[in-house]
Amino acid sequence: MSSALTNLTIGDCRSLIEKREVTALSLAEEYYAHIENQDARIGAFLTLSKERALQQADRTDRMAVEGQLLPPLAGVPVAIKDVMSTRGVRTTAGSKSLATYIPAYDCTAVARLEAAGAVILGKTNCDEFAMGSSNENSAFGPVRNPRDRSRVPGGSSGGSAAAVAADMAVAALGSDTGGSIRQPASFCGVIGLMPTYGRVSRYGLIAFASSLDHIGPLTKTVKDAATILKTIAGRDPLDSTSADVRVPDYVAELEQPLGALKLGVAQEYFGEGLDDEVRHAVESAIDRLKSLGCEIVPLSLPHTAYAIPTYYIIATAEAASNLARYDGARYSFRAAGVKSLSEMYRRSRDQGFGAEVKRRIMLGTYALSAGYYEAYYLKAQKVRTLLARDFQEAFRKVDAIVTPTSPTAAFRLGEKSDDPLAMYLADIYTVTADLAGIPGISVPCGETQQKLPIGFQILGKHFDESTVLRIAHAYEQASQTAS
């Protein structure tokens, strides 16, 4: 029943409510009805937070009736990836170990969205502890790609991407540690933005790899991504790594002319393994940007081939440390019938974690263990420096870098689930930005012959989301005019 109301942007929602053509309450109820109808086929949501959503919608409606100035996200129905803590609403991280966990506090990004008027519809499915590239690692079952149900939505923010793509939310929050916002956005045909590391507070985000985790929006338009980023960005005393850097008005800056921006195209992102249809679509997108006045500058990011091995050491090492807290004692799953404390730890973790999470804990623990720390962890930290330097060098010459988001369009469920290494390689074009801490956005740029969405990625300088968004917006406007 995709009625007119379930295909709205943030701006549409706010103005309809402001003009009192629709109430926030009826809008929320309409989205819930749509979820009820559609989500059994997709599996995007794990928990609906109806009570909290309807209370919030009611508050907005009362403000509208009183003629008060409505906040920027007034009445906008949003979905939250289930790795972000929500007070009073079950938060599982896609894991059996947190299947009944109800946080006592809100993630800062969620609190800021709600303070800006957003209506939190519910929590979206994801790979367990955000570890995966297909959403098949959720303890609560996979999410299906709304474009083709035999295919994955990407991961780990698969539920958030699918919810937006299937009109079950106007926008969603996801998290990105190695590509988990941008890759599912490209697989589902929506916008996915990973901000600079430190741009958005990680307080209340269930930690996977602390030096790599980012929160960001998945939306239908670039403008909506800019609106959400503006709302959630900025210093938060509760996250000591959140940066004290001015938050610009990303929405206002979208409309500034592109001018003669220099866009880098790195040969390493167009090599072996890139699907021909994806290559063609991304090259067409680059041509379009050129026709908008951008200058295309060929360049090299020579250490790109080392990004995946570097990532899988650093991310798993940090994960092994972060996941030590799931001990079965305080808030996570406890195995039944355990007779001693050490048995409680081992059995609870054995039964609470899925196969991929255990694999990563093992890899990370090995990489940090005595005798191997220097060969693996320290080596990876040094290569991370080289990867970050590649980008520093490149950004002396260009304003942004354009690449494919993923080497292929959405693959089939089960296609890669027996081969962890093949799955890891799905992140080959996205992990570099996480390691360097720079912002990146995935923007839809066409379809394969089988009608599967293709996305391209724009990477920018630290804290230069404005330029990334401006290029994405100009491209989006130009493609809409063309089609």
Binding site: T100, Y101, I102, A104, G198, S211, R235, P237, L238, S240, T241, A243, D244, V245, Y306, P309, Y312, I313, A320, A324, D327, G328, A329, R330, S332, F333, R334, V338, S340, L341, S342, E343, M344, Y345, R346, R347, R349, D350, A355, K358, R359, I361, M362, T365, Y366, S369, Y376, L378, K379, Q381, K382, V383, R384, T385, L386, A388, P420, L421, G437, H462
Partner: protein, 112 residues
């Protein structure tokens, strides 16, 4: 550098995991495959490269304070309940698998 069944058992123990025999066999295969791929890092000479633990030590620099160190803005007064209130005891115990109203309850610690 191939890892062995003994290594898998040792690492599982460090990670507080038990793993079934089938899981251990799968782990041996997968870890060797991934570590084999990771070997390619040794193609790079990193003897003169500094390790990178964080994206930038400069991200948290407080612009208003001259000479501010990285993450200077992260420092705060050392006071009880400085940034936020502590959780009340009953709320903190709410998600516990087993609690007695005051403490988390766990099986006995001393095993012999």
């Amino acid at each position: 550098m191939k890892i062995t069944e003994k290594d898998v058992a040792y690492v599982a123990d460090l990670a507080n995991l038990e793993l079934t025999a089938a899981e251990r066999a799968g782990m041996l295969r997968d870890l060797n495959s991934i570590l084999g791929y990771i070997e390619r890092l040794n193609q790079l000479d990193t003897s003169k490269v500094q390790p990178m633990a964080q994206v930038s030590g400069g991200l948290g620099v407080d612009q208003s304070k001259p000479g501010s160190e990285g993450f200077a803005c992260a420092s705060r007064e050392d006071v009880v309940e400085g940034l936020r209130k502590s959780l009340p005891q009953d709320v903190a115990l709410q998600n516990a698998p087993d609690a007695d109203g005051t403490f988390f309850r766990v099986p006995k610690v001393i095993e012999r």
